[in-house]
């Protein structure tokens, strides 16, 4: 294999990468169900399950919270296996050496993620759960990027000469907004792993005020009135402030994504793929805010709260992939062509097939 050549499009590798990304997305959802059902500690041991090899744990014992936690572990194992296969495939079958390395990073991340999840159970550390939730988002971005980078569309994009460059200012705006979403998801993960349910129940006000009273007297009053069927834990001032920042973060992100969508349309034209992607991103954010509000109104119903997690992950990955595409498209064409000519890349079969000259 000529390492100077861009890889030939391999539909099966691409489909496999898509399958890995979809399975990871489902795993994120199942992880959301685990925390929404407060089931994270329902299987006390790890890597075994109630003393059984986890793959041999009898189905009859998959009851209550065990169902969510155990199926989460099984699906995580499947994602781990898919990731290893994908990495080996990329290493051996993709001419782009850096793709093999990305595959290796994905394997390391999925291993770290599994160990984090296991240690969170073994060490009873909620803080590890926050990291577990955060690494999950990073891993999801990576496998989605691998699916994108193995696509015919991406390879054609690499070979095309006539793409519209994305201005640096617009790219920076998207990078910052995507990073804001990442921070927001970390805040959300921290909230979920406090196991205190909803620290604030009303919206748009908070305990009847724009900024709630968090004095010791007020906290004692809130907790004395609070009756929860699950997550019956006293709410702390920290948790209330955390939710307030999550609300403010949602507002800031909504404004930023609105600006992104508007600027993408203005600077790239409304027919441009990235402008359309930005519009879809805007739609996702509206849906996500709606789900956040409904999470409050439904007293954190597990299905709604889990959808909130999943759409949050989709919002993040949409922003991240937009940035990846934008930076790829913004490579200076003459320089690229020169480099490619010097490297002999333009004589490669894949480039010729995709219109390279």
């Amino acid at each position: 294999m000529n390492k100077n050549c861009p890889t030939e499009y391999n539909p099966w590798l691409h489909y496999f990468a898509i399958a890995t990304a979809i399975t990871t997305f489902l795993l994120l959802g199942l992880g959301g169900l685990v925390t929404s059902h407060e089931a994270g500690m329902s299987v006390p041991d790890w890597p075994n399950t109630y003393g059984y090899n986890m793959f041999l744990f009898p189905i009859g014992k998959w009851v209550g919270g065990v169902f969510y936690e155990h199926t989460h572990r099984l699906l995580a194992s499947a994602v781990g296996l898919l990731t290893v296969i994908l990495a080996v495939w990329l290493w051996r079958g993709d001419a782009r050496r850096w793709m093999g390395r990305l595959g290796l990073v994905a394997v390391l991340l999925v291993i770290a993620q599994g160990v984090l999840g296991g240690l969170r159970v073994r060490w009873h550390m909620d803080n590890l759960g926050v990291f577990h939730g955060t690494v999950a988002q990073v891993f999801f971005i990576l496998v989605c990027a691998l699916a994108l980078l193995t696509s015919r569309w991406w390879l054609q994009l690499s070979a095309e000469r006539n793409w519209v460059s994305v201005p640096a200012g617009l790219r920076s705006l998207f990078v910052v907004t995507t990073f804001l979403i990442f921070l927001q998801l970390m805040l959300g993960a921290t909230m979920r792993h406090q196991h205190a349910g909803l620290a604030i129940r009303d919206f748009p006000l908070a305990y009847g005020q724009w900024w709630p009273d968090t004095s010791p007297e007020a906290m004692a009053r809130y907790n004395s009135q609070r009756v929860e069927v699950v997550t019956e834990t006293p709410v702390t001032a920290f948790q209330i402030i955390l939710q307030m920042f999550h609300r403010l973060g949602a507002l800031a992100i909504f404004l930023a994504v609105t600006l992104c969508a508007w600027q993408a349309r203005r600077q790239l034209g409304r027919r441009d793929g990235l402008a359309r992607m930005a519009a879809a991103w805007h739609g996702l954010l509206i849906l996500q805010i709606g789900l956040g509000i409904e999470t409050l109104h439904s007293n954190k119903a597990a299905d709604i709260a889990t959808l909130h997690v999943m759409i949050g992950a989709l919002s993040l990955v949409t922003g991240a992939l937009w940035c990846v595409i934008a930076f790829r498209r913004s490579d200076a064409t003459p320089k690229l062509a020169g480099n490619r000519a010097n490297s002999g890349e333009l004589n490669c079969p894949a480039v010729l097939a995709l219109g390279g000259k």
């Binding site: 994270g40 500690m41 919270g65 936690e69 009756v227 019956e232």
Partner: protein, 238 residues
């Protein structure tokens, strides 16, 4: 002569002990409307747990308030007293029955054995959340322990006082119990009638503390002499 002196001495000690301890008796009342309890609807979603309830889910019991304000599940103790007799006290027992903890509020002394049973035909995990590190370390091996249907009892013991240490089952996330650990034998927990008795308290000045998990804490300064002391606490909505 020595024998007579010995008998006299024993008699005097006995007499002294008879007059040197008194009971603290009291009532705890909740004045006003307590927050409404909630129905534990998820319990019906679990076929095994739901079978115990014939379609009618139980409710939470965070405020055990009687018709005349009798306030149950309040823990009354004497502040800063020590001398736990937990090591020789009968073990306290908490059961998991029909997918609920029984009782949900319990008080034990440091060093006292706490037995957790599972009378259900379904597995539970007994998950403790101590906030005092010494109590966590003392129960490290069983801090989150599986308990199969009718499985072996789990045993716990605590070394430091702690208020409302939460026990939970993550398999059935509505299952909670709160265990308070005190460091002396001078404590009581109000029953459904809101009454309590702390027995054999030596004479002296004390601060008596009434603690409710949701309603908070009330204190009074009292003096115990040679007669029983009556105390009344009243909680109100905050």
């Amino acid at each position: 002569m020595n024998k007579i002196l010995s008998i006299l001495a024993v008699g005097m000690v006995g007499a002294c002990s008879a007059v040197s301890a008194a009971d603290i008796v009291g009532t705890v009342t909740y004045k006003g409307a307590a927050p409404a309890e909630k129905t534990i609807t998820p319990i019906l979603d679990d076929p095994t747990c739901g079978a115990s309830y014939n379609g009618k889910a139980p409710t939470t019991h965070f405020y055990a308030v009687g018709a005349n304000g009798e306030f149950g599940d309040v823990i009354v103790s004497l502040k800063d007293t020590t001398g736990s007799t937990g090591a020789s006290a009968a073990p306290a027992v908490m059961d998991q029955k029909a997918c609920l903890y029984t009782p949900t509020i319990l008080t034990v002394q440091t060093g006292q054995k706490l037995i957790v049973k599972n009378s259900d035909p379904v597995l539970h995990n007994v998950h403790l959340n101590p906030t005092v590190p010494e109590n966590e370390k003392a129960n490290e091996a069983s801090i989150n322990a599986a308990q199969m249907p009718n499985g072996a009892d789990l045993n716990y013991s605590f070394v430091k006082p702690e208020k409302f240490l939460k026990f939970q089952c993550d398999v059935h996330p509505w299952m909670f119990a709160w265990v308070t650990i005190v460091d002396s034998p001078y404590y009581a927990q109000t029953g459904a009638d809101g009454k309590f008795v702390i027995k054999n308290v030596p004479p002296g000045k004390y601060t008596i503390v009434a603690n409710h998990r949701k309603a908070g804490e009330k204190t009074q300064d009292i003096e115990v002499k040679d007669a029983n002391v009556s105390v009344a606490f009243t909680f109100e909505p905050k």
